[in-house]
């Protein structure tokens, strides 16, 4: 068991984000269509300041789980708790970052970042100042009057990160945020996210399908299996509190965990041949 990161709450207090026995069933399509169980009895506690990765084969419901945590979907049963209190729907203490950036193409970078504040009816001068500050954090000050179409994929995702940060949420929910980026940009943004996480002390839930990304970034990795989506494993990866992590070094350090993760994923993948020894 690792020590909680410096500044984070001790392990015995209420988790920042709690997923409590969440099930999600999708009704079948057509007459014979049977209902699909996307998530079965998933529980997960995330401490304040912790970065937890959720990894699993495609179709394991990891994106569904993230949307439930973000309040975009309601669970069929179970609860989502923030600071121990059950929530329903989205809230300003949580922000979601999507793989496809989800920037509004008709808004300039600055107005994209200011969007959450505009929704909350923050006065114009204040929201522009706060948006500019968030852009400074991701190093895009010079690009505030550009449109998203003028930016590279990596820059767009940084705008999306700035937009998520602008209301200063406690919890960041990231749905394969770097999945659409090329390898070099991806690596850069991993470094930057890691540094930003250290500086801002956010609680992060990070959905990915990349084993190495999960090992590099996470304090903890939760593995979901398929049919139904459920937790099949969990790994803790201790790190030196308060110090910028050397990500490639972390990947080497936890190579045994990486191998174990691979084995677990293969065992719970969606290939029928691999499906046989799936435990009840």
């Amino acid at each position: 068991m690792s020590e909680p990161a410096a500044g984070a709450a001790p392990a015995n207090t209420v988790p920042k984000l709690g997923i409590d026995r969440v099930c999600r069933t999708f009704a079948g399509v057509g007459k014979q269509g049977s209902a699909t169980v996307a998530l079965h009895n998933v529980s997960l506690d995330v401490r304040a300041g912790e970065l937890v990765s959720i990894i699993g084969p495609s179709g394991c419901g990891k994106s569904t789980l993230l949307e439930i945590a973000g309040g975009l979907q309601e669970p069929t049963s179970g609860r989502v708790l923030v600071d121990g209190k059950a929530t329903s729907g989205p809230g300003p203490e949580r922000a979601i970052i999507f793989q496809s950036y989800a920037l509004f193409p008709w808004r300039s970078v600055l107005r994209n970042v200011a969007f959450p504040l505009e929704v909350g009816k923050v006065p114009k001068a204040e929201r522009e100042a706060r948006a500019a500050e968030a852009l400074r954090l991701v190093g895009l000050t010079k690009f505030q009057s550009h449109y998203p179409a003028q930016l590279s994929g990596g820059m767009r995702q940084r705008v999306a990160i700035a937009r998520a940060f602008v209301r200063d949420p406690d919890i960041l929910l990231m749905d394969e945020p770097f999945g659409a980026l090329d390898a070099i940009t991806r690596e850069l943004l991993q470094e930057q996210l890691s540094a930003l996480h250290l500086q801002q002390r956010k609680t992060v839930v990070f959905v990915t399908h990349s084993v190495s990304e999960a090992v590099r970034l996470s304090d903890r990795i939760v593995v979901l299996g398929i049919q139904p989506g459920r937790v099949v494993g969990s790994f803790t990866l201790p790190r030196d509190p308060g110090q910028v992590a050397d990500l490639p070094q972390r990947e080497r350090e936890f190579s045994d965990i990486r191998d174990e993760l691979w084995n677990l994923l293969l065992r719970h993948g969606n290939s029928p041949a691999l499906h046989v020894k799936q435990p009840g």
């Binding site: 949307e67 989800a102 193409p105 003028q150």
Partner: protein, 275 residues
């Protein structure tokens, strides 16, 4: 990576090389277009001058220009253009208000669009000319019926594009907006409407073209003035150059209208041009 005030490095400036090659290609394209039109007019002139066709049925281009000049001098042309623009303008304006207004209402409500899309498809298939007797019965002979025709001809593309535009909103954008807690009204004004605007403006341009098309038909069957009347009447009275004047003027009006609507569309959707 060391930790400092700005965690992420400023990327290099987006200074793109000035797109001179592309600009030259656009300029060349424009020049080629002008040359092609000039060639067409020259061909017209020659075919008529050399009497390859019946000169009465196709007078030379220069004769048509002269006839247009005469029409303009008597002032008759201006009043015809004026009344045509009034009819087309009122009908098109009405179509804009109704098409966009009703379209937004329908597009915003899923159940409304499920109920109304079939009847709308049905109405759309009724040609404006076929509706003219109906308009006559209700509105009588005159300006109102003419406006109703133009309205009927141009409202459908505007209406249908508005509905489509509202329903084509990118799912991840609505998700992102919902995650920031937008109200239903904010979702409409800040997400649905702006993302529908490019589709709506295509419908508006189509509607503008249809407005002029229908206008001519309406003026030919039920008016005593206007460009459509001028064209048919000139043929009746054997003033063939005047007939061609009317046709050319209509083409020019169509070009101008399309140019203006395109300018407006580019202005509103400036963000798309950067792609």
């Amino acid at each position: 990576m060391t930790q400092h005030d700005t965690l992420l490095a400023e990327p290099a400036d987006l200074d793109r090389p000035p797109a001179t090659a592309a600009r030259r290609r656009v300029a060349l394209g424009r020049w080629q277009g002008v040359a092609a039109v000039a060639a067409f007019l020259l061909l017209w002139q020659l075919v008529s001058e050399l009497q390859l066709v019946d000169t009465f049925s196709l007078p030379p281009f220069t004769t048509v220009v002269a006839a247009t000049y005469d029409l303009a001098k008597t002032g008759l042309l201006w009043s015809d253009i004026g009344i045509s623009l009034l009819r087309a303008g009122c009908g098109f304006a009405l179509a804009l208000v109704v098409g966009i207004g009703v379209g937004l209402a329908i597009g915003w409500s899923r159940s409304a669009s499920r109920w109304l899309s079939a009847p709308m498809e049905f109405f759309r298939q009724m040609p404006p000319l076929a509706m003219y007797p109906v308009f006559l019965l209700f509105l009588g002979l005159g300006l109102k019926s003419q406006i109703a025709m133009v309205f009927w001809g141009s409202v459908w593309p505007i209406l249908l594009n508005t509905i489509n535009g509202c329903q084509q909103v990118d799912d991840t954008l609505t998700k992102a907006a919902r995650s920031y807690g937008v109200s239903r009204w904010q979702m409409f004004t800040k997400v649905v409407l702006p993302s529908a605007i490019p589709v709506i403006s295509t419908g508006v341009r189509l509607g503008g073209t249809y407005a002029l098309l229908v206008l001519v038909g309406a003026e030919m069957i039920g008016a005593q003035n206007g460009i459509g009347f001028l064209i048919l009447n000139s043929q009746d009275t054997l003033e063939v150059p005047n007939m061609y004047s009317g046709i050319l003027i209509l083409a020019c009006l169509g070009l101008i209208l399309n140019f203006l609507l395109l300018r407006l569309e580019r202005r509103i959707t400036r963000w798309r041009l950067h792609a």
